[in-house]
Every structure is written in C-alpha cells, then in structure tokens.
Symmetry: C2
Subunit: 407 residues, 2 copies
C-alpha cells in the first residue's frame, strides 16, 4: 500500500473549521487506498503569539526554553487533527517529534534532523490508523526538545517522505503553488506546473517563501516528489521533481526577492591565511547564513571583508563579530536596507546572455546594482531596499515570465 | 543541602507579572540555601480553554488525544518560569513529565504515578540550577503522554517531595491555607495552622478543594510535610503533617461540602454472591469514585443498590451501567441535585456524641438528611443540593469552628 505524507501549514489549520477541512483531505487520501501520515504546523499565529509571550517574560529567552515553549504549538494541532478525524469516523493517533524519535542535533531554534525512528509510525499505519505528526520539532539524544527553525514543518514533511519511501509529499498551503514571482508584488506572476529540485532550492534560498532550501535538498537526495498545493481547493499545484530534459529549455523559471538584508563589513582585519576561515566558522557555528562575501585586500597586512545576512540574524551575529574583533583587531559596520533580486533557471547552464539581460533590465529601470553573485543556475543582484519591488517587476517582465507571455 | 519543592497553581502563574512574582519566591528559597524544584500548573484558565477547543472539534475526544492536548498547558508555563528566572539572573531548566521520567499507568485523564526517575533532576540540581517541572502530566512506558486528573499538579508536587526526600513541599495557591470551611460560603471560617494527613485526606475526599486526597495520602506515606500558603504574601499558611498527641483534643477540625452529586440506583438486580463485586469492579475500572453505597434486599432473589457519584462522572458511568444491566437485568435511576456535608476531626476517635450534635444542627436548620456515612474521623450527611450551603453553615456554627470561637 502506497504511503502519502501530507502537510498542513498554520493557515490551513487556523480554526476548528479549517482543521475539519484538513481532516477531509486526509480522509480522501485514506479512502483512495493510501496509508496517510500527516504533518502539521501550529495553528494560525500561535508561534508568533508564543514568541511574544516569551518576550513579555524575558527579553532574551534561552533558546532551549524557547523551543520547549514553541513545540507546544504543534502539539496542540496534532491532538486536534486526531480528534477531528475521530469525529469524522476515522482512527488516528497523534505523535510529537519526540514520540516518533525524530533526533536532531542540539542547535536549539535551528536544529537539524539526524534520524527518524520510523517503527512507531509503521506500527500505527499497519493497524489502519492515520498518523498525525507534529512538524517543526524534534528531540536531542539527551531528550531536550528542539525546533527546526523557520519552515521546519517542511523539513519534517520531507524527512518523513524519505524514511517512509512515500509516493509523494503533499504540501498544503494557502497559495496555489510556486509562482514565477511573488504574486503580491508582481500582479501577472504565473503558477509553475513542474520545477526541478535544483531550481526550487535556488529559488528558496533567494527568497521564494513556500519551501525551505534544505527541505528541497532532502527531497532531492531521496528523490521524493513534493506537490505544493492549495488547501482551499482540489486543483493541482506545483510538482517539485527531478530535472528532466524538457526543463533544459527553460532559461529562467522564476525570480525572487529577499528583502531586509544587512551588509556587514569587517574593516582592517589581518590578511593572513586562516583568518577568513576563522570568521566564517564562528558565524556558521551560530547557524547564521551568510552570502555575497567580498574580500578587499587593502595592503600587505590588512583586508576589508563584507557579507550579507538577514536583518533578523543581526542580533545573534553582533556578539560573534565583537568577539572576533577583540581577537583579530579591526572594526565593523552594518548597512541595513538592502535587498537581493534573483533569477533562476536550469537553462542558464547552456545559454549565455542571461546575466546581461538582467543587468540591462535593472539599468533601464534606473536601479543601481551594488553587488552580483551567481551560481550555475542563478544570478542575484543586491539593490537598495527601496528599489526592491520595482527590481523584481522589471526582471519578471524582461524574461517574459508573466501570464500573458508564452510559457 | 536541603531540597524544597514548590508548586504554583494556575492562578499564581496566570500572567507574565505573576510568573515573575512566582520566580521571586523561587529565588528567595534558593538564596536561603536550598536546592529548589518547582512544579507548575497551566496558566490561569488554559486547561479549560483547551478543553473547550477540543470540544469545538470533537464532541467526545479520545482521552489519549485530550491528554496530548492538555499537557501543552503546563509545558508553556515551565518554559516561561525558566525564562523569568533567567531574566532575574538565575540558571534554571524546564522539564516535562516525560523528561523527568514520570511514569504512569495508561489511564488517560486519570493516570496514576508509578515511578519517577530522579536522576535528571538531581543532576541539574547538582550544577546549581533551579529545576522547573510540569505538573499534572506523565508518560506511559510506551511514551504516550498522560495527565493525572483534577489537581494532578499536587500529585506531582508530593511525588517529587517524596523521591527527592524534600524538607517541605510548599503548595502556593490563591488562598491563605486550609480553612475550617469554604470561606466563600461560611463568612467566619478560620484558617487552620496545622492539620494531620488523615484529617486532610478526609477533608479533601469530601470536598475541601485545595489538595487531592491521593496527594495527601502519598505525603503521609513518605512523611513529607506540605505547607499550603498564599502566593500573594509571605505569611505562614497551613502545615499538613503527621498526627501529634496535641491534635487528639480537636474533635472537629473542619467541615466541607461536596455539591453536584448524583445518586444512582440499580433496581431489581439479582441478589447473589459476587454481584456487588461485579458492579463496583466495573465502575472502578473506569476510575469513577463511588460513595454512600446502600444495598436493600427486596426479596430472596433481588436487591436495589444505590450509590453516589460526582455529576461530572455520570457521562462516563452510564455506558458501564447499561452494560451491567444488559448482563444482570434490572433498571437504573439517576437522582441529580444532591450534596454532602461532612465534619472531620481526629478527636472523634475518642469522643462520642459528635454524630448526634451534627444531626441536631441539621434538624434545627430544618434540613432533611437523606443518607449518613462515617469513617473513624468523619461523619457525612447527604442533603438536597438546595440546602447544601445552609447545612455547611449550620454545622460550622454547631462545632464552634468560627473566628470568634475558641480554637
């Protein structure tokens, strides 16, 4: 019997009524002959409410305790989904991250999954039950509760899909799928029917909000198809799958925006072997993601090193930087109000001229490019925060990604 | 170093401000040189809110799932208390019932504690940390979350006091201690300074709300003193301790009321050996507490059996009764709107005439007694619900328990 893993995000389980709607989708899969595992997020704004509650008690709460607090959000939802299924006449059992043995490292608030003990789930599925799993959470070997960071329920979804060898991971959200750009910013953005894991990873890493990069990376590694779809209707969404030959013709699949970046510049740090590694290891130890690294050598002995981080990580980053400067010498500046606009497409591997077309589109819109970074299938430009949305629209139009354009 | 276990009930942790107040009491004990373990309940009306949420999703939620849901309430509080202690400059760690290995049976919603693995707590105390434990919850050997029933946080408090060999279990509430009667009903009720475990157990079992009978039973078994005190001030409350010779002179220590009782009568059931055991074993299997049992033999073959239960247990009881009647024959009636008024005192063991004085007080108040039950240190009378409060006041006055009376 095939296994389907479904995930319902916070907006899809925000009220008792929506919980019953989600339960109906679960039952439909069960009645279609599948074994169904369901991953759920906290209801609506619960996680934000809990964070606010924590900050009302402690300005800088210990991360272990914040995880202990936040994990309750998903635990509430799993119990309620199991109850809704019971009310609709189906047997279900809810399981926390700890109860499915979802072991993580001990990086509280940004933990990584190490393994899942699938036996409890398989045992429950074998009795005909629907299994409801709390997303976003795990436990350490010591038994401490961890959370997997922003979008962590998707990590749970894909990890379960992989260990259970699921036919598909269905990611139910409040949008119709993955779009060529954020439709709230670009009015004629078009839904993408199929996209490769690589493209999706690049789009996620540069700001497309629906799926975390590492969830997609995990899906690619285990070749689990993800179907991103809208919980409000039955229509197909976007399938995220292995790359096919047909995809090579798509030069640009989509574009994305990351707002609220901060550029950190370390000035006059010693320019000798190992210093850069020292800096970025210290930053990585805090699980802060860094991009757009530039090193300018000033003279024989010193260099300026700059990079961008998300504004939300600056508070965690500052003490690290201060420790580094105390050790290495030099000073630091922080420039806020930056953004990054990116285009992604597997066809770039074969086709030249994509970068030029992007720079021309931004120049025509009178937007200054402050930095450029690229991968094999992505080009990104740092621009001022105030130009961010205009830049996205300009690029989207330049590559004819809109609804009225030929797909 | 001595260990103090403190417990804060829901009203004492209802807001971030009250959580900080509780944290200050914890720190005071720590600064007084004690190792401190803190047990907390869910904030304010959280448990009731979660029950309402559950009933909004499922009219009769599976008890396992209800426990999964309700246990989040205490998990929120432990994290917030640990954060408040951190904000006030003290190291603390929060632990769920599962994390301290509080093993229970699998009677969801009314589970009983089997054992506590104290090693994790002792390890954390040894590092100088304050340990915050979620009350009211445990886990089964399978790893399912259970709750301990009404007042279950007190069971956690006393069980921890016993396994950790604590100097005292401090039970912080929103009242000054144990009173000679409920002060909301009897205006001149007086706070009791010291009371024996036995008296407290009897008072709890007949309606004094502060402590569960089995929490006190456990404290008696391990001889752990309980100090019931008000979290709003520093004054002493009521000490619950082993019986002393001085206590023998107290004929009546206090009186209590249990409202909302239902009398169940099984009519025309067969009168043969083993039937009564069959009935009450079936009821006990549902963990429903039964009292005031009366058997009337009707003829050679049949009898009427009646008993009282709390109104809240009737929904769980009815299917049991129906199964019994299907097996044994006969019929059942349910009389609502009954109450029980009781007087308790260790001095009754030596002194006669207490029952007569109680019956006279009720007769003088023109209250009809429907049934009488007694123990060595308690006398209880079933009265109509409408007479309940008048009965309590009459009995309280008859035994001179008020503030103006000689203690």
């Amino acid at each position: 019997m095939g296994i389907v893993v479904q995930k319902f995000g916070g907006t899809s389980v925000a009220t008792p009524r929506k919980i019953h709607d989600a339960a109906r989708k679960v039952i439909a899969a069960k009645l279609a002959g599948k074994q169904v595992v369901v991953v759920v997020s906290a209801m609506g704004h619960t996680t934000d409410d809990l964070i606010n509650l924590a900050h009302g008690v402690c300005p800088n709460p210990p991360k272990r305790e914040l995880d202990q607090l936040l994990a309750t959000g998903e635990q509430v939802t799993i119990a309620l989904i199991a109850m809704a299924l019971h009310a609709q006449g189906h047997e279900a059992i809810s399981l926390t991250g700890g109860q499915i043995g979802l072991l993580t490292d001990s990086a509280h608030s940004k933990a990584r999954i190490r393994e899942i003990d699938k036996r409890r789930i398989q045992k429950e599925l074998a009795t005909g039950r629907i299994v409801i799993v709390a997303g976003f959470q795990g436990i350490t070997e010591k038994g401490d509760i961890t959370t997997l960071g922003r979008g962590g329920s998707n990590a749970t979804l894909v990890a379960l899909g992989a260990v259970l060898k699921a036919e598909v991971c269905e990611n139910y959200t409040d949008v119709d799928g993955i779009f060529t750009a954020d439709p709230r910013i670009v009015s004629d953005a078009r839904k993408i029917d199929r996209i490769s894991y690589d493209e999706m990873m690049e789009l996620s890493s540069v700001g497309a909000g629906v799926l975390q990069t590492r969830a997609v990376e995990f899906a690619r590694k285990y070749n689990v198809p993800i179907h991103v779809r809208n919980s409000a209707h039955e229509g197909p969404g976007t399938w995220i799958v292995a790359e096919t030959q047909a995809m090579e013709h798509i030069v640009v699949s989509g574009c994305a925006l990351k707002k609220d970046l901060t550029r950190v510049t370390l000035k006059n740090v010693p320019d000798r072997p190992g210093i850069v590694a020292r800096i970025f290891t210290a930053v990585a130890d805090e699980k802060i993601i860094v991009d757009d690294i530039i090193q300018n050598v000033l003279d024989d002995r010193t260099a300026n090193i700059s990079f961008t981080v998300e504004y939300g990580d600056v508070a965690d980053l500052q003490p690290v930087i201060e420790r580094l400067l105390a050790e290495l010498g030099g000073s630091a500046t922080y420039e806020k109000d930056l953004a990054r606009v990116s285009v992604v497409g597997v066809g770039m591997k074969q086709q030249t001229g994509v970068a030029g077309a992007m720079f021309r589109a931004l120049a025509d819109a009178k937007i200054n490019i402050q930095n450029i970074s690229t991968s094999e299938i992505r080009i990104s430009c740092i621009v001022a925060r105030k130009d961010a949305e205009k830049a996205l629209r300009a690029v989207h139009a330049a590559f004819n990604l809109g609804k009225k354009s030929p797909a």
